[in-house]
């Protein structure tokens, strides 16, 4: 499958947990995550995000994050990779779940993005 999912959270546990929720309904979608700082504290790590992008089997990624500073690091990572990163300002858990369900069902990106629209709740902070 050419689309994958990327989860970026400030917390290592959230980054570990969200893919479990998603993988259950999207067995064939590559889902990778980055959470916490290099010291496993609350924050984000560009290095971890780079690794999660590299580890993802897809070359076009739908990316979801929790808080604004994760967004900034995601943007930096997106500028550094040759993979195409689509960044969504939508509810982390709920929207990545919807995206995973729809990717698994083979729905096209445009239709997925339409379904993500009402879940947009950030991007201004």
């Amino acid at each position: 499958m050419s689309y994958g999912i990327l989860i970026v959270s400030h917390v290592p546990e959230i980054a570990a947990g969200v893919p479990k929720l998603l993988q259950q309904v999207a067995t064939d979608v590559s889902i990778t995550a980055a959470g916490g700082t290099d010291e496993q504290e609350i924050g984000t790590s560009l290095e971890k995000i780079n690794q999660a992008i590299a580890a993802n089997q897809a070359d076009e990624l739908l990316a979801f994050y929790d808080l604004g500073s994760a967004r900034m690091n995601l943007e930096m990572a997106a500028e550094m990779t040759t993979k195409k990163i689509h960044l969504y300002d939508t509810a982390l858990v709920e929207s990545s779940y919807v995206a995973a369900s729809l990717l698994q069902a083979g729905v096209a990106l445009a239709a997925i993005e339409k379904q993500l629209e009402p879940l947009k709740i950030k991007g201004n902070n």
Partner: protein, 194 residues
Amino acid sequence: MELTLENYLAWMQDFAQKIADKKDYLSDLDSKIGDGDHGNNMARGLKAVSEALATKPADLTSALKVTAMALISKVGGAAGPLYGTAFLEMAKLSSKTVDLSELITAAAAGLQKRGGAQAGDKTMVDVWLPVRDNLKNSQLTSEKIEQAVNSTKQMEAKKGRASYLGERSVGHLDPGAVSSGYLFESMLQTGVIK
């Protein structure tokens, strides 16, 4: 007002010292309207910067670049990509010009691109923009910096974690504005300007 490898290294050394000294104060400020880690984030970042600069970069451009990389990879909070982008923009421009005013202008633009903050949003941008403008007119003073930092106190946050507090953010200094104030105080004190 030209940035040189020499005055840049002196500037960063002084800045790292200020951050180390004010670490707890910065985290305290952040705990009022954020998550209380800004001092620790910056101290970790500047320690990495000092270590990187201790390896004697060959020229100003490399020095700016390793600073940016250390901040981006070590700060861990919003300040990482923000300061990191600012220094990266300076690094990029420094191969064309070393005029301080032009470098800071590029840095401030990068900061705003990265974080999307405008003047008045109660962020470090509220220090960077007046500093940029005063540098352009050769009128930057310690008082102007202090004034810019203090102006964030009465602002309502529109960006960053403090923005979730809405009007409750009023009455507190923005921690990133304070750390940026230290950056520019160091710049004045280490003679980068005159």
